[in-house]
Structures are given as structure tokens and as C-alpha cells.
Chain length 541, copies 2
């Protein structure tokens, strides 16, 4: 660890996360209490079949008391799965601290490079020095991550072999919806095969789409949206100062538009498109183009030839005609048709849509492929597409005399590895402590829950929710699989309704708010502020 | 001012900038002392002809003492010129505060929308309430800015008419090299025509290319490079965590690469291209491509199929063959050749270069025009060009087996309107105070100087440097004009040498530093840190 670190990183190494008062007295002074059995679901029968030993388990809440388990040394493994999110290192640090508190001889093993590290038993014992060097830092570079799934029978068996060989009392999977689905399947597999390792999950994703059913937020969402909001606010101030450009800003979030919605609530841009609404209303590219062009015209007429428009990454799939085109291309690709031949095999309707797209977008549709060989939606420059369609529309329009000048941005990688905000630093350290408690108390198949998050950290609650209670079934690759469904933006939820109430005013006025960069020190109203999404959702509970 | 402001903006409104001890006792307790006469230059004769009353004036230093001027109310105008830079509002606030301190009945008029506001006498008196609402904020939105120049005789006469009508004792032009050139010309014009208004300039540009000759830094450079370094650090951490992508990051700075160099010193990326070096060495696109492809190969062989490469915006013009192509296209455009015909009229050499460029870049060369009708260099996606040429080179290379995956970013607008760092907030408030003193003491044709900037603010010095001492002559539109030459990166200067000493190690190792976001509160080693550029240059003085 002879890396040069910045003064801020150094100062943050000494930050001591705040956390639930109930956990403050140490792991010996906490006992689990069972709550209600998991609510039944539509798919209950099928899920019970998939998870005979887990389905219907009660939620768990940790309360002050005396732990009724023998305080023997625990050996626990931890793995990071999927894309980076701020706070991952603190989950590991929290887990480490609570395990050491439970018994000084406990050991924490980090699996390297994601789930593959578990299959291949590639791990390293995490020492206190290494943990200390990563407290409150961003990134997943301490042990790496990976996108492998734990799905096939071979993979499950390999995880069992590793757990058995290492004598793992517990395994913490830090990941998003798919990784937590894998954790549930693994937990059941271990029970079925008599492997005593407790498997628990921690909710990670900057997209914010792993929540609901008692889970209030995924970690990383707070920090990432604050980084994007800092930049959006700066761009808004630039737009208003220069009075010259429309800025189209694409934000991460393929399935759900929580990131765009949160950033809109934080910065009040002129336009923010929400994928869930576009899908529900069935708005076409043509319709959206007209809506944006209308805003451009209206603002120019009011002496404001500038603006800011937020675009969620996944928008393009929600436009019915473009979504159909992408689906057709994926179907042709699966059938072995590729290259120039692709565009000739489209249905007349999709061919028409394809022909109307700008060159750059057509090229991206035909050339960029994801690892499954599908159109790589995340690489399509939707923000550039909208600029081009709006530009054409305004050019056709005799009325619009001003020059339409636009800039485009994509904010994604800039926020995934930021050092966690105080909120995320606190939340993740608490999640790690909760993971240790769930493992110590033998609660397998749970996701760590820290609740009451809109209140000060001392008032947070701690516990676990059965992973199966989030599950439904989806057809994947032709087979019905139990999955944790992504939580989409609720169009009748408080965050969207708040946005919908104000958006017309934000479109015509300059109601911009400039949040500025994340502050780690200073007045509490600046440093301890959570997301608008979390605050508004707390008001609904 | 019923705008909703963020908690951080609110907290920052109360920040009281630190400043030179010599100014702390108030405007009545400071007197100007003449330094040496301006050093003579190659162009001295010609410059003396252009500036008969200004050329050769001595530098001025403000020292403790008693002001020997009558403390009568002053009426002063201020104008923001050109692109945004963090701290502009604080220059105005500092000017306002010092004028009020000089005499309670002084008035400050803000010209609206840049220099055009002066020609057209479009202004507003800036009230204490309006000033207070903009303290320590980013953006130029208080009075707006504009890109008009003050050059033609009509414009000079219009400025004189406005100054005369409003009874201006002084006019502060806040701008970059061109705007300060205009300020010098205007100062001489006023003297020549008996207009008693004192004209002074303040050094503004995030590009950092207005410095030297006693001027240590332009304001905004500190804040903007800190915003970019925050983002670069986050992307570096992402690259190292995901171990998958090469990130190519374009940064603002067309003529000079100070921004890229400063960000490289702050974040230690694997590669940073410096335009001045590329030009001096005559490196071609082919050569640069091979250099980057070599780094990609070397890192992949060491198990690091990822990296970060910084690219200055202006790089493309410094590549001899591409620069020649752009010049040819500009020549053809000036001759009325446009559109598809352009590419047919190129010389064989340039046609070859043109044909080898990716489609997207060719399109940008042929279609994007700046306001002078030239190729819009700033909109050419140089970062995408390099990704494409490197990708092709690696594909031709039988040895390279890994997949080259790249992401591109452009950071520019994200930093121009950030709220100023403590350094820039302090520096700009001091510049504004110095402007008031220069005006009160009748020092026309000066640029505000605050010096010893690498030391704590209390030790800063205050004074003025004759604008003419920065000047040389350049041929513009066929005529010899006095201009302030942009300060380029000195390849024998301490910042570049520091970079050059380490860059090979930074290329192969992961020496990344993650500066994190600007902090306004907290430990001084975090909040009061200036740029590496300034610190290293201070070591040379």
C-alpha cells in the first residue's frame, strides 16, 4: 500500500461512520427478533418449490439484548459482484469490524475478481491494515469485482466446495438484483446439501432499482446521484450564464429512471424524461421530439435560447418503434444475420424507423454488440439522437428563427467509484455490521436491511429481509426462473408526483438548483442530506 | 431573488474570503508604490507607437500607508467578457466592497451581456443585496457575459460615450487575453481622447494561459481543474476496479495544455498528451497512435487491460498532417468552396489524411463551423479519433489478443461554472479589491495583480502590471495588431518537467491519485490546496 493518496482520501480514512444506536453497544448486546412471515405472493407455490427451506421465513429485526449464540471465531467470505457503487469497501470494513467484535479470532476472506473468485477459490485474508487503507474510499479495487453469475449447477457446486474447504461460516454477496437472486439460490442449495455456510446479500446499485418490500435504498445511489447532480448543476449554471446552448445529458439507468428522477428533483432542469412514463404513455420518438422542440421554441420566444434536458440511458428501448426495431435486430442477430444484410431483412415498419435515424445511431445499432451478442443499448447515444431529431424538426419549422446549438454529455462512469458520501459511508458500514450479525445468528437467505434511513443514523433500524420475499418468476432464455424484479419508478409514487407537479414551471422558468460537490465536512444540512427520493418515499410510509 | 438555492450555496454565501494582510486595514490604509518600468520588448517601438501614454509604465505595488487621494465617491462599471470561469462574481463583490469602503456613496454599475452592454449602455446598478446573493457562487449569470470584442473605432467611441454619459471613474474588464488586449487599447483611447475613466483588467480563464510577466495565475483555473481532477480520479478508480476499459478523456484548452498538465499532475493517469510537446516534436497522428497502442499492449501484457488517457482539446491542430488538412479546409471555405466539393479540392497529401479518418471525424471537419466560418476545432471528437486509430492499429497487430474496449469523455462545461474553490474565492475577491484601488489611484491600463499565491492568503501581495508589458504583435486578418500572447506550457518549466520525470512509471503502474470533490470546509490541507502548477512554478521563482 505505498500508493500516493490525496489529502482528501487521507482525511477520509479517519472518518468514523455514524450508525444505528442499537448496534453501538457491540455485537454481544444485540439479539434478533422475528417479525411477520414473508407476505405471500402470486408465485408463492412455485417459489416455495424453488426455495423449500427459505420461502416464507420471517423478517428479522436486531434489538438491544443479549446475543444467545456462542461467541466463537467465525470465518466469513465476502464477494463484490457486478458494477461498482460507492461504499462497497465500507460494507467490507463494517463486516470486518463486527466480526472482530464478535470474536477476536474471526477471519475475513475476500474473494478476488467477483463470483469467479468463489468458484475458483481465489481469495485473500483481509488484514486490519488493508481494511484501514480502504475505509470510506470509492471503487471496488480492494478485491475487485466481476460479472459472472452463480447460476449453473457446476457453479453452485464449486461454491459449495470452496465454502467447505475454507470452513466458511458465512458468505456475503454484495450485489444488485441478479447477484442477490444468486445469493438466494446459493443459500437454498447449501441448505439442501447440508453445507452450513450462511449466505446473505447486501443491496448494491447506483441505479436505485433494488428496493421496496421493506428495503428503502440500495447503496451507492446517494453518492452517484450527488456526483451527477453536481455536474448537472454546473452545466445549468453554464447554460444560464452563456445563454447559448441546450445541453442534453444522458444518465446511467437502463431499466429504471430513478437516477434521472433524483437528479431532476435535485437540480430542476428544464426537461427530464422518465423511461417508465414514456413506456406507459407509449410515446414515440416523434412525439418526444415534438415535445422537446416545443420547449425549445417556447424558451427561445421568452428570450431563453438555452436549456438542460436529462435523458435516462434506457430511454431508447422504451420508445415503441425504436424498441421494436432493436428487438427485430436482436432476433436477426440470434438467427445469424449480421452486418449490412441486417438492414435489408427488417420489416417495412422497422426499416422506415431505421432509415430515419441519424447515421451515427444506425452505425451503433448495427455494430455495437454486448457480451450476449445483442444490440448494446447502453452505447447508443440517445442524447445525440434527440439533438438530431429536434434539430431537424426545428429546421422544418418556418417559425423557429434562432440557431439551435446543443452540447451532449453522458454521466455514468464519473459517479460509480466516487468516495461515498457520509450517508453512503454510514449506510454501508451499517450494512456490513448487519451482515456479520445475520451470519453469527445463522440467518441464511437474507438481505441486510438498515431502515428508517431518512432519519439521523442513530435512529436507523437494523435487520434482515428474506431474499425470497422480493422474488417473482421471469422467463429467461426460455426457462422460468425465480428472480428479484427491478423496482421501477412508480408513477403514482411521491418522487414522481413531486416532479410532475413542478415540471411545467421548471421547463419555462430557470428554476435551476446548483447542489455543488459532495461535502464531507461542514454544516450538517450540507453533509448529512440524503436524496430527495428517499425523503419523499419516507413521507409515504 | 426568490430562487431556491441549495444548502451548499446557502452555506457558501456566508464565506468570508481570506486575503492579503496588506489590504485588511481598508482602502484608506494602502498606498501605491511604483516598481521598475516595464521591461522593453522586441516590439517596443511598435508598441510604444500603439500605446504612447501607457507603454513603459512601471508596475505598481500596494503597501501599507495612507492613501494620498481624496476619498470621494466613485462610479465604476464592470463587465464580464468571454467564457465563464469560477470566481467572476467574487471579483465583482470584491470591487463592490472596496468601493464602498473607499466611500459609502460610491456606485457600481454592471454592464449586461458582456462588452455589448458597454457599447449599448445596457447596465444595472448592483445593490448590496444582489452582491450578497452572489458571493462565492459560480457562473456569470449575475450580469451575463458576451463574446463581443472592443476593437473597432465605432466600438471604442461607443464605450467612451457610455463612460462619459455615466460619469465613470473606472471600468473593470474581467476577461482573458483578448479582453485584456481590448482593455489596453481602450485605456489608451480614453487617454488620447481626454476621457478620464480608468480602465483596468482582471485575468480570467480556466485555460490558465494568461500568466507570466509577474502574473502568477488566471482565476478559475484552480476550480475548473479540481472539478476535472475529481472526475478523472473517479474514472481512474473505475478503470482499476472494472479492469475492462480504456478511458479517453478530452479536456478543455485549445491553445495551451495547462489544464491537461495540471490534471495529470493531480491524478497521475497512464497517458497525458501535451499539445505543446506534440507540436515541438512534430509528432503525427500515426506516431501518437503507435505510442498509445504501445501502452495498451504493454499494460495488457502486465494483466492490466485498462487505462486512462488525457487529451487536450486543441491537440488535433498540433498534429502536423491534420493541422495542414484543417488549414486547407479553412482556406477552401474562405474561397467559397463548401460541402461535398471540399474533399475533392484537397491536395493529394491532405486527401490521403482525410480518407484515413473515421467517418465521424470527417463529418465534423466538413460540417461544423465556428462563428468565423472556420472548422470548429473544439467540436472535433479527438478522443474518439484516437480510440478509432488505436483500435485499428491493434487489430492490424497479430500480437494483441485482448479486446480493446474504450469509453470517451469530454470535461469542459462541467467545470466552467462550478462554485469557486476557497483559493479562487479568495483570489478573485482580492482581485476585485485591487481593481478598486487601481481605479481610486488613477492607474489606467493595468491588470490587477495578486501575487505570492502559493503562500497562505495573508501573505499575498497586491498591485498592478501594465497591460502593455504582456504585449507583442500578431498578424490578425492580415493586419499587425498588438496582442497579449497566450502563455503556453513551457517544456522546460517545472510543471512539465515533473510530469516528464514520472510519466513512464505512471504509464505502466497504477499510480492513480483520487483527489475527490472540492471541499469548502474541513482540514486546511484539503480545503486550501492550490494547483500543482502554481506550487511548482512558485518553486522556480
Amino acid at each position: 500500500m505505498d500508493r500516493t493518496i490525496s489529502p482528501l482520501e487521507k482525511a477520509r480514512l479517519g472518518y468514523r461512520p455514524a450508525g444505528p444506536a442499537v448496534l453501538a453497544a457491540g455485537t454481544a448486546r444485540v439479539k434478533p427478533t422475528d417479525g411477520e412471515a414473508s407476505a405471500s405472493r402470486d408465485q408463492a407455490d412455485s417459489l416455495r418449490e424453488s426455495f423449500p427451506d427459505l420461502f416464507g421465513a420471517p423478517a428479522v429485526r436486531f434489538e438491544s439484548g443479549t446475543a444467545d449464540r456462542a461467541r466463537r471465531p467465525l470465518t466469513v467470505g465476502v464477494v463484490l459482484s457486478g458494477g461498482q457503487a460507492p461504499g462497497g469497501h465500507n460494507v467490507i470494513a463494517g463486516l470486518h469490524d463486527a466480526l472482530a467484535d464478535w470474536h477476536a479470532d474471526s477471519r475475513l476472506l475476500g474473494f478476488l475478481g467477483g463470483p469467479r473468485g468463489v468458484f475458483e477459490s481465489n481469495h485473500r485474508e483481509l488484514t486490519p491494515a488493508e481494511i484501514d487503507a480502504h475505509r470510506n474510499t470509492g471503487g471496488f479495487d480492494m478485491i475487485g469485482s466481476g460479472r459472472d453469475k452463480i447460476e449453473s449447477t457446476d457453479q453452485l457446486a464449486a461454491c459449495r466446495a470452496t465454502s467447505s474447504k475454507l470452513g466458511l461460516d458465512g458468505l456475503l454477496v454484495i450485489g444488485g438484483d441478479d447477484s442477490n437472486t444468486n445469493a438466494a439460490v446459493l443459500a437454498q442449495y447449501f441448505v439442501t446439501h447440508g453445507q452450513p455456510t450462511v449466505v446473505v446479500g447486501a443491496p448494491k446499485t447506483i441505479d436505485g432499482d433494488l428496493k421496496g418490500g421493506g428495503l428503502e435504498a440500495s447503496f451507492g445511489f446517494d453518492t452517484a446521484t450527488k456526483v451527477y447532480s453536481e455536474l448537472i448543476g454546473n452545466v445549468e449554471r453554464d447554460a444560464r450564464s452563456a445563454k447559448k446552448y441546450w445541453h442534453f445529458i444522458k444518465l446511467m439507468g437502463r431499466s429504471a429512471s430513478h437516477v434521472t428522477l433524483e437528479c431532476a428533483l435535485a437540480t430542476r432542469p428544464n426537461i427530464a424524461l422518465i423511461g417508465e412514463e414514456v413506456r406507459k404513455e407509449g410515446w414515440t420518438l416523434n412525439r418526444l421530439t415534438e415535445r422537446i422542440a416545443g420547449a425549445v421554441r417556447e424558451r427561445a420566444a421568452a428570450g431563453r435560447p438555452y436549456g438542460v434536458c436529462l435523458v435516462p440511458e434506457g430511454l431508447i428501448e422504451f420508445l415503441p418503434e425504436v424498441g421494436a426495431l432493436i428487438e427485430e435486430i436482436n432476433g436477426l442477430l440470434a438467427g445469424g444475420v449480421d452486418g449490412a444484410a441486417l438492414s435489408q431483412r427488417l420489416t417495412p415498419q422497422s426499416a422506415g424507423v431505421y432509415e430515419a435515424l441519424p447515421d451515427r445511431i444506425r452505425e451503433q445499432l448495427l455494430l455495437d454488440r454486448d457480451s450476449h451478442g445483442n444490440v448494446q443499448v447502453s452505447r447508443i447515444d440517445t442524447e445525440v439522437l434527440l439533438i438530431e431529431t429536434v434539430r431537424r424538426r426545428l429546421a422544418e419549422d418556418g417559425e423557429y428563427k434562432a440557431r439551435f446549438q446543443a452540447q451532449h454529455h453522458f454521466f455514468g462512469y464519473e459517479g460509480r467509484c466516487a468516495a461515498p458520501s457520509n450517508f453512503d459511508a454510514d449506510y454501508t458500514a451499517a450494512l456490513g455490521r448487519v451482515a456479520a450479525l445475520l451470519i453469527a445468528h445463522g440467518k441464511t437467505g437474507y438481505i441486510c436491511r438498515v431502515g428508517n434511513l431518512a432519519a439521523p443514523a442513530a435512529e436507523w433500524t437494523a435487520g434482515g429481509i428474506p431474499l425470497t420475499s422480493f422474488m417473482t418468476r421471469e422467463k429467461r432464455k426460455g426457462e422460468w426462473m425465480p428472480v428479484i424484479a427491478k423496482a421501477l419508478v412508480a408513477l403514482d409514487g411521491a418522487p414522481f408526483l413531486e416532479f410532475a407537479k413542478h415540471r411545467d414551471a421548471w421547463q419555462s422558468d430557470d428554476a435551476y438548483v446548483y447542489p455543488g460537490p459532495i461535502q464531507y465536512f461542514g454544516p450538517a444540512e450540507v453533509t448529512e442530506r440524503t436524496t430527495a427520493t428517499l425523503q419523499l418515499e419516507a413521507g409515504e410510509r
